[in-house]
């Protein structure tokens, strides 16, 4: 029994320590975003990297998400004689929830996992040690630029996701089910308010930060060897996704 408590205490202390480290890591990253010299070229490179990794996937998924929602929405709403409102349904669902959440999870899967394995390989091949010997801070050259790039990328990609999704919804309902252009986009314009776009973007911004934070942390504190790096990259995706879903619930309950 005592043994159990001792073990429990030890593992609790370990977890709390880890959590502290995780928090401090974010603090340092945020700090180095603002401490000059700021590495603009590195930020742009990273946006490029995250963008090219995820853009086509985002377009594909958003098109099918919008299309499927259009189909379902149309069938369901028609039963209540409200088929004119399908544009409202698709656009609100995308802007408020699906756009930021699905987009961020996709970015976590594509770019987040490769960031974690990139930094993980750097760690096990002593590249961060070499930086340290040179008296250069990895947060300035890696964590901070990745963080800023991820914020910008996820917001932009979410915008693209929503845009493509809303049009895909129209193509399905308008093209196949005969909803008119006017009634679909009327439903969008009449019911979407500026706050929907703003709140959706705030969510995307937060999710972008989560993806960067988790992936750089998991990569930097990777386990040993190729197996450790593989695990770091998987854990980066899983933990990012969980944190995205949890924080989305919290933000939704505060916002709407």
């Amino acid at each position: 029994m005592i043994d159990f408590f001792a073990k429990f205490g030890r593992s609790a202390r370990y977890s709390v320590g880890r959590l502290g480290l995780f928090g401090k890591f974010l603090g340092k990253t945020l700090l180095y975003i603002f401490v000059p010299p700021i590495k603009l070229d590195r930020i742009i490179n990273r946006i490029n990297f995250i963008g090219t990794k995820s853009l086509w996937l985002i377009i594909l998924i958003s098109a099918f998400t919008g299309a499927v929602m259009g189909l379902h929405g149309q069938h369901t709403l028609a039963q209540f004689g409200a088929s004119g409102r399908v544009g409202t349904l698709v656009s609100l669902a995308l802007l408020r929830e699906l756009g930021p959440v699905v987009c961020a999870i996709m970015v976590a899967g594509r770019a987040g996992s490769s960031i974690a394995s990139e930094l993980g390989v750097m760690q096990i091949t002593e590249q961060f040690d070499a930086l340290k010997i040179m008296n250069l801070n990895p947060f300035r050259y890696f964590m901070a630029p990745i963080f800023v790039a991820s914020l910008i990328s996820v917001v932009l990609l979410t915008g693209i996701f929503n845009f493509v999704g809303i049009f895909a919804g129209y193509f399905v309902t308008g093209g196949l089910l005969g909803v008119s252009y006017g009634s679909y986009f009327g439903g969008v314009i009449d019911f979407v308010i500026f706050n929907d776009i703003l709140y959706g973007s705030i969510k995307a911004f937060v999710f972008g930060g989560i993806v960067a934070w988790v992936s750089t942390y998991k990569g930097f504190y990777t386990g040993r060897g190729a197996e450790g790096v593989g695990r770091a990259s998987t854990e980066a995706v899983v933990l990012s996704s969980v944190l995205i879903l949890v924080s989305n619930y919290i933000m939704t309950s505060l916002m709407f």
Binding site: E118, V121, M122, T125, E126, Q127, D129, A130, K132, I133, M134, N135, L136
Partner: protein, 254 residues
């Protein structure tokens, strides 16, 4: 000057360093010997501040590297260079950028000055042709030389070399030692060279230290080292002189 006092470090329940005492004089080259797994790399990593010791101190020009922070630590780090055993080249950068990066970030050198400096050192390690290659596109030996050039390019005052010639063919290995020796005459840096291959290295070093069972068994001149009456040292000398196969044969005979 580097003074190491009673350094202890335990890793994975194994006492790797068990009270290491050692000094490295200004401007000298010290060879650090020891069997594989003796803890040479761990000792180097502790000397440069990558590993925290459990106890003991490392004084670099009278300042304890493990107790200094901020500007003081930065000033020590600026004097130190290290060649990692596996190179530790930045794999996202070309060979050129690997060398230019620390110069760009830490010095006020102009683009032309950096260019000249990088080319000088790449030429001296025989890698002028490979400037635009990425580390993954180089052979193991070329990576080692690129890493050596990156260590030297900032012209640090104190340099730690973790096995600079391991994995190179004898010809290139010799030329690397020659290069270290020439540069030492030019810049008078302080150096610690970890190596197995001490016959070659003995020609360029002032003193030798041997790490054995977690302590420095002996620190002396190359000549005295060869004569030192201690089983670990004698075994090491015999193995190195005869080659491993001979030593194994001798063991099985007697």
């Amino acid at each position: 000057m580097i003074v190491v006092k009673n350094l202890r470090k335990e890793l994975a329940a194994q006492q790797v360093l068990n009270g290491v005492d050692m000094t490295v004089e200004d401007g000298e080259i010290l060879a650090l010997l020891g069997a594989s797994g003796a803890g040479k790399s761990v000792l180097l990593r502790t000397l440069v501040g990558l590993l925290e010791p459990d106890s003991g101190e490392v004084l670099i020009d009278d300042v304890d590297i493990h107790r200094s922070r901020g500007k003081e630590l930065a000033s020590i780090r600026d004097r130190i260079g290290m060649l990692f055993q596996a190179g530790a080249l930045f794999d996202s950068m070309t060979v050129y950028d690997n060398l230019a990066f620390p110069l760009r970030e830490k010095t006020r050198m102009t683009r032309t000055q950096i260019n000249a400096r990088v080319e000088k050192y790449l030429q001296r390690v025989g890698l002028s042709e490979a400037v635009d290659k990425y580390p993954a596109e180089l052979s193991g030996g070329m990576q080692k030389r690129a890493a050596l050039a990156r260590t030297l390019v900032g012209e640090p005052k104190i340099i730690f070399f973790d096995e600079p010639t391991t994995g190179l063919d004898p010809l290139i290995g010799n030329s690397i030692l020659r290069l270290i020796c020439d540069l030492h005459e030019e810049f008078k840096f302080t150096a610690v060279i970890v190596t197995h291959n001490f016959q070659k290295v003995f020609q360029i070093v002032n003193r030798v230290a041997m790490l054995d069972e977690g302590v420095i068994r002996i620190q002396t001149t190359p000549e005295e080292f060869m004569e030192f009456e201690h089983p670990s040292v004698q075994n090491f000398v015999i193995e190195a002189l005869q080659g491993p196969l001979e030593a194994v044969k001798n063991d099985s005979q007697g």
